[in-house]
Symmetry: none
Subunit: 645 residues, 2 copies
DNA sequence: CTGAAAGCGCTTACAG
DNA sequence: CTGAAAGCGCTTACAG
């Protein structure tokens, strides 16, 4: 159905028909009416292509966005779309993937289709070739720097946005504020970063380069950025991410690291995409009038006065929207950190001991039925933490358990001894560590340790826990967690001057780890193994070996000798201290009791001799009771039991 | 710059220039080269409008979506965009707001621009006028019912999606499941609702109209829907929302109401938009291949063979993605299902098998570190129940587990095989039964069974479970629970005429228990032990012993002979049936598979020979797979594996 | 007020 | 192989 057919049906010329239908030019009212009627009747619709070919304007605008699935862009497109439709224009959409070749291809497509104008949204700056390609086209650049000569620009006040985001955090009392920036070569990212720096400087705070990371505006990059920030072990209580997606990624990383938003860290984003409202907690962010950006761009593209808009700037206001992700800096920060300064941190294993009584150990291929079974809290780390706590010293446990009932049980049991378990990670896809202890009727036992969560502790957890140590602190470790964790923790604790105590059990060769250790606690067998690793073993003489190790590494070595007591040495002669005679019932928890008490005593400032004496008494008490943790005495039980001189 | 100018510059006619540039028609190689060069030099770009006016095809496709900011659509648009660009097409985008007038306006625009085809995505059905307007246009409808005559349709299997979402919840033990539907006049919403109802009915659950609400696919409506559900005070433990946005809204409402997802209520959505991953907890949902929908639509729109695609259907698969928003139903509600008749009831043990790989078995006094560890559902009772269920027979499990995560795990795993676990008691102060399996590097293993809850089963549970039996029923038992339970159950089952099958493992003397047993299933060793207890043992000849037992107690005895197959006897001559030769990988589950299948087959009414034959095949299949329960085949796996005569 | 004609920039049968 | 001409469907100066 063409205008020609309409003209014929109406018995008039094509010219007249065109005039009647378009409303331009003079036609008698009667022919106009009739023509319109006939056209409607025939279902005539003008061919826009022909009209455009003749006329010049295509009533089509194009919008090029980097990635439609980034929720920022659909909101903007929506605004442009609405204006286009309202003005009988149509919207050509292109996704550039922020890629040069794709952009060039799309610009070519648009240009060949005689679009009235082309809106370029976000993304990287164009290279010369692309700019050349755009020559003669009406261009509006949106949400980015204007690098196209003669183009109009629509955008928000990015720098101001960065500023108000940061000021919000500062007003809440935050001082140590991290920054996750966008790609450095993206203009808006740079502006936001400037706003951040400006606000910090104006508040008299120095942006810390160690607290600044760069992402690429995706949620995944935000996650990575936060993980990296945490790993740096530089203290911060808030973070400003240069867009919402990265902020959301950062929140996830904080969550995974067991930190709370906003209780531990406040988070601010930028954009105020719809998503910012969906996430929990709601994201505090800088509101951009995203839809208005799209509208304004479309208006400019449709506007016929090309010269009028050329080079014009249209900057929209931004506004801070406070939601749940930010709050006052926890008041206690200062005090809390000082408290932490007077604490024994135990980094180590948490196990549930499954004790099974069997008539006899099963032979290969055999099935035996257990006569009874029982479960207790255990693991060298947890046992020693309990000993530290019962010694009356503030204890903090770092480690990992599974997200299972065994894990619940362990955390509850530590909490009963007032041990801080906030640093115990819960790992969803690993079970809590287990020791399977089989006890035969004659009292013999075998132990199988299944590491579980203990061996899947997140390094960022270890690092962030150790990051808060000061020289007031004591770090106590054993070897039931991966050696690299122990080594990394020892290294940084040593670096800040914290006391590092290592119970080298189960025994293995230690290498450079010993460079960061102040006190090494071992039993005779362990001492020989460590000495062997050091190449200084004195066969069958643990105490002499201890002295050799102490000499070589310049540290204290304490050797437990069972019922004989213990010896300690700093390299020269070893001092031996005898144990009180007790009625041994169960020696399971004696070693851990000794070590925990020793750590607590040294932490309190006791000299080595007094510390070892106390530890020996604690250990001696422990063997008089059944069970590892149940047998660990409190300070007053010890003084009741062994009247002090 | 037009082709005319190029022609002039090249000193040739427009015709030749066109031919040289388009590549159609014959031109001398030299002029072609020259023309192309000159065109490039002049920066000539063909006017697509003119080309289209002449040619007919516009290389433009249009996509109409209801609302770009609903994240479902950008993902779909992205797919369409990619295909369009790849094919040198351009994408016209229109947002209809799901509004008739806007849609009509947009369709007009598109039509006047001679688009090659128009994709209509989602939204309400079109009215007659709109459908008329589309006449003569190539139309592809996406993600909705096809109401446009001659249009192609692209969509996901909505009903199946609703079904798998619901089945997931049912498998987790949920029975009181709420439903938040989409707009009733939206086809996809209706299909999803049907899938929900179907799954409920197939599971024997009645959808409760009080637990059904309608939303409009927005997040706000999901929030309102959940608020309304909660206000009704009808108990539910899970909800299926017909799209992700509503599911997310529902999660927020639950959160506001102080309820935990998934601890109090499990939530499943539909679509798997990116957002589903962002929210906390991650949303379990039905994955649609959204981008592929867009791709397929674009392909069809670009495809030149209009008749070829007219009326074609393109249905994509959906898939359940389990994230954090769903978990096992928290607690057994009082409404245990009434199960009567025509069922195999398994009374027996439920264990978690803890498999630990050790370098060597620990010697007395030694501690070894496990190299790896893994947990599986196990226990003879549970294994045999699974075999019965996979044989296609309705199975009900009676037994006891602890109120711990092992217990959760076992119940969930049985539920996945559609085994009725309402009769499994949860005992708070006993742990779930365990088998501690130690595997040495050389493959040798030892097993320690810790009965736990299995030995603390309440007699009233056993009695009430058995009380409902009729002579239509089969009761299957083993000896990993206390003998008095087995005997009491056997006695009353026998009394009402139910078939009683006993797998006498682990072996022991049975006494009068055998008086109530119809079929005794044993391996050779067990047969000799039982025979010994009966005083009829024929040393070293299990089959002869079996015949003696059968004769003495007037029952069937089935003896499994490992790779040799099995024998059965009712007292006279024993029949032997050989096993097919298979490549044995793991024999752990073979016995339980055999027994479960035998019970299922007899329950179905098969004669003893056919039942044993089937059971042998099932057992033979099982040894070709690793793991006990994983290796238990379904009926169809058996017939695939062993072609039936 | 009305109409014949030119022309937008291209493609393509037709003739040479 | 090459070119003059027609024509896609419309608009619009120009003439009447």
């Amino acid at each position: 159905m063409t205008i020609k057919e309409v003209a014929e049906a109406a018995g008039i010329s094509i010219t007249t028909a065109s005039r009647a239908l378009s409303g331009r030019g003079r036609v008698s009212e009667s022919t106009r009416q009739r023509t319109i009627e006939i056209a409607a009747q025939l279902g005539y619709e003008p061919n826009e292509l022909a009209r455009q070919l003749r006329g010049g304007t295509s009533s089509t605008i194009a919008l090029l966005v980097p990635d439609i699935t980034n929720p920022f862009y659909p909101e903007l497109i929506k605004g442009a779309q609405a204006v286009a439709n309202r003005n009988n224009h149509v919207l050509l959409l292109g996704q550039t993937n922020d890629d040069k070749d794709t952009t060039s291809l799309l610009v070519g497509q648009m240009r060949r289709r005689n679009v009235d104008g082309i809106g370029i949204v976000g993304g990287h700056l164009l290279d010369e070739q692309l700019i050349e390609q755009l020559e003669g086209l009406k261009v509006v650049v949106v949400d980015r720097l204007n690098d196209v000569p003669g183009a109009a620009i629509v955008g928000s006040d990015q720098k101001r946005g960065g500023q108000i985001a940061t000021e919000h955090l500062i007003a809440l009392g935050h001082e140590d504020i991290a920054f996750i920036g966008g790609p450095e070569d993206l203009d808006v990212a740079e502006q936001r970063s400037r706003g951040f720096n400006l606000a910090m400087l104006e508040a008299g705070l120095a942006p810390d380069s160690r607290l600044s990371v760069t992402g690429d505006f995706t949620e995944a990059s935000g996650r990575r950025a936060m993980t990296s920030l945490l790993a740096r072990r530089v203290h911060f209580t808030a973070v400003f991410a240069a867009n919402d997606l990265m902020a959301i990624g950062a929140m996830q990383a904080l969550d995974s690291a067991g930190m709370s938003v906003p209780d531990d860290v406040s988070v601010v984003g930028f954009d105020d995409i719809h998503l910012a409202e969906y996430v929990r907690p709601g994201l505090t962010t800088v509101h951009q009038q995203i839809e208005v950006l799209g509208q304004r761009a479309a208006e400019l593209l449709i506007e016929s006065d090309d010269d009028g808009i050329a080079g014009s700037r249209h900057e929209l206001d931004v506004e801070l929207i406070a939601r749940g992700s930010t709050r006052r800096r926890p008041r206690q920060t200062g005090t809390a950190r000082r408290n932490q300064g007077r604490q024994v941190t135990i980094l180590g294993s948490l196990n549930v001991d499954h004790v099974t009584e069997v008539p006899h150990f099963p032979a290969p291929g055999e099935t035996v039925l257990a006569e009874s079974s029982d479960s207790h809290a255990g693991g060298k780390g947890a046992n020693q933490a309990v000993a530290v706590a019962r010694a009356g010293t503030s204890a903090r446990m770092i480690g990992a358990v599974g997200a299972d009932s065994d894990g619940d049980f362990l955390l509850a049991s530590l909490a009963q001894d007032n041990i801080d378990t906030a640093g115990v990670q819960r790992i969803t896809d690993k079970h809590t560590g287990r020791a399977i202890i089989s006890v035969q009727d004659d009292g013999e036992n075998t132990i199988t340790v299944v590491s579980g969560a203990n061996h899947n502790l997140d390094m960022t957890v270890t690092e962030s826990a150790v990051a808060s140590l000061t020289q007031q602190d004591t770090l106590l470790m054993q070897l039931e967690i991966p050696l690299d964790h122990v080594e990394a923790a020892a290294r940084s604790a040593n670096h800040v001057g914290a006391r590092v105590i290592l119970n080298a059990a189960p025994a293995q060769h230690l290498g450079r780890l010993l460079d960061f250790v102040d006190v090494l606690v071992v039993n005779e067998q362990e001492c020989l193994t460590v000495g062997e690793g050091e190449g200084v073993v004195v066969p069958a003489d643990a105490v002499a070996t201890a002295a050799a190790i102490a000499r070589k590494r310049s540290l204290f070595v304490v050797v437990t000798l069972g019922a004989e007591g213990a010896a300690f040495t700093s390299g020269s002669e070893a001092d031996r201290i005898a144990a009180p005679r007790v009625n041994a019932v169960d020696t399971t928890g004696a070693g851990d009791t000794f070590t925990g008490y020793l750590a607590a005593a040294l932490h309190e400032g006791k000299d080595m001799r007094s510390a070892v004496e106390l530890a020996i008494q604690a250990g001696a008490f422990a063997v008089t009771r059944r069970g590892a943790q149940p047998g660990i005495p409190t300070r007053s039980q010890i003084s009741d039991h062994f009247p002090q001189p």
